[in-house]
Symmetry: C2
Subunit: 327 residues, 2 copies
């Protein structure tokens, strides 16, 4: 394993310090409670708080700013933030109009955000992100994990909160976005945790993992390495088969950290051809490394079949470290 | 080698097709002559044309759009575009106020852009990018290569052209930016050409390359793998030792394609600490994968000691696939 770092145990804090210094115009970093918050709050706006384990950069800290999150709590790599971190973040961005937690569907995250909500004494609702497309048997209890669809939900709810919509409306929007959004990931390599120093799982030169999560865990299925068009067709078939709506769609091709843009754009090309065959019309798109798994090579497809109102919220101004448009 | 692709020989064209479909609001792609051009020209503006071998995505095609390039010619991977491609691009974006070629300092690129200029019969000047920091003996004829400083020059000249400044002023600005800008790169791995299928150079688990170019060529020096702070100090010392100006600086930490943001932000942290010790004050920054070498793990530092006028041009609106602010 070769990584740019000093002590493996300090990789994360030194990285966040770099991030905070680079984006001091947008965010500030609470070192002791390890959360990033928007520099100035908007009175009368619902506060949006998300977070999770680190290792997915730029998610979530790169999504804090105008038109998206108010705060992001940063756990250790692939480990949920603790309730006291979350309480501190919630208190810091409470503008008196309620708070919404956006939590990816993992046991640790759900438990800690729930405990934080109870401890805080604040008016908090929670939206769970569970965008993973699954075609498993009913006995499979692992459920739908939160993947790169998190970005879509955080962008759209962030825009709605910026428009001063209330907590109840935000929860309704979260339901609509959630039921319209599905993701599936493919890994070509494992990632390597800095403090472990060897790949999380072994994978051969001729193999790939289909249906991976974002924590370096193995996927749902190990298959022989395939051509891009075949990967795209299989992923789109799984995603499309798990979606209620078709038609106009936002398409997010997300890299896991170790895959360069030249390949991500090739996959965008392959995915959109397959999506068109399956009845989708890509009207918005995003291609890049947004929800990563450290240095893993691979990518995920997120399809979000959005109506005009949701597309309008997607187009609203956003100014964060990782996403910036119309602002 | 595992890459997302179909036939290795089609990786590039399928990737560009994906790029063109994803960014059809900003650019259009001439399939036969393989260049990307800005969708609508600005009358009375000098046309900026750049390009080079592919494999550096998002450079250059991601730098085409308002406030930056008018056209980018795309050669085969790590191979200069041909003169007829460049002529076609120049003709396509000639708005009658002259053209400026921005060319990285490689023999093939220089020769082909020069031939294109002669063939075209248009009023063309050329700015050469040669931002590599070198501390070699005077006998070393390899000169200064064009590295990620290309982004800085293309952004600043793009802003100046958008302000309708003339060709002569643009050339003067190019000189000023050029003499104020130095870069150095570090590679932890080689990259792999899709049609070759094995790494371009071998490098051990305990080694790294200092002073690499952007084409997967070995660097100036093979050394033992070091801590991030030591890498930063050595790179900054080399860059600072080769610069005339200090003080306020734009700092670009550029990933080579295989290094995730968590590490690039750590390096930003390490680089800025070293830069401060060496008399620089980072007033603008950019952290991400902009000038890549396919899937190479590594990064480069670019320091540009800009005066207020040049900083103002840097801050001007830009709206391209890879850079977007104030627009």
């Amino acid at each position: 394993m070769k990584k740019f770092m000093n002590e493996p145990g300090n990789l994360l804090i030194e990285s966040i310090n770099g991030f905070a210094a680079a984006h001091a115009d947008i965010i500030s970093f609470d070192v002791s409670k390890r959360f990033v918050r928007r520099k100035s709050l908007v009175p009368g706006k619902v506060g949006l708080v998300s977070g999770g384990g680190a290792g997915h950069e730029p998610m979530h800290l790169g999504f804090v700013g105008r038109g998206m999150l108010d705060a992001a709590c940063i756990g250790r790599i692939f480990t949920s933030p603790t309730p006291d971190q979350i309480v501190a973040a919630a208190q810091a961005v409470d503008a008196g109009s309620g708070l919404l937690f956006i939590v990816k569907n993992y046991d640790g995250d759900r438990m800690n955000f729930q405990m934080a909500g109870e401890m805080s004494g604040l008016a908090i609702d929670t939206a769970i992100v569970s965008d993973e497309a699954v075609q498993t048997s009913p006995e499979d209890k692992s459920g739908r994990r939160g993947l790169a669809g998190t970005l879509v939900l955080e962008k759209i709810l962030g825009a709605a909160a910026e428009r001063k919509l209330g907590l109840k409306t935000l929860l309704e929007l979260a339901d609509r976005v959630g039921s319209a959004t599905r993701s599936m990931g493919v890994a070509l390599t494992s990632c390597t945790l800095p403090e472990v120093g060897r790949p999380t799982f072994d994978i051969g030169e001729g193999e790939m993992e289909l249906g991976v999560g974002i924590h370096g865990e193995p996927g749902r299925k190990r298959v022989a390495m395939r051509r891009a068009d075949e990967i795209a067709e299989e992923v789109v078939r799984a995603v499309a088969g798990d979606m209620v709506f078709k038609g106009n769609a936002l398409v997010l091709v997300n890299g896991f950290g170790g895959t360069p843009l030249i390949e991500l754009y090739l996959m965008y090309n392959a995915f959109t051809a397959a999506l068109t065959r399956h009845g989708f019309n890509p009207v918005r798109r995003l291609v890049g490394n947004f929800v990563t798994s450290l240095d893993m090579a691979g990518c995920s497809l997120t399809v979000s079949a959005l109506d005009d109102e949701l597309l309008g919220l997607w187009d609203d101004p956003v100014h964060t470290a990782a996403l910036r448009w119309n602002a």
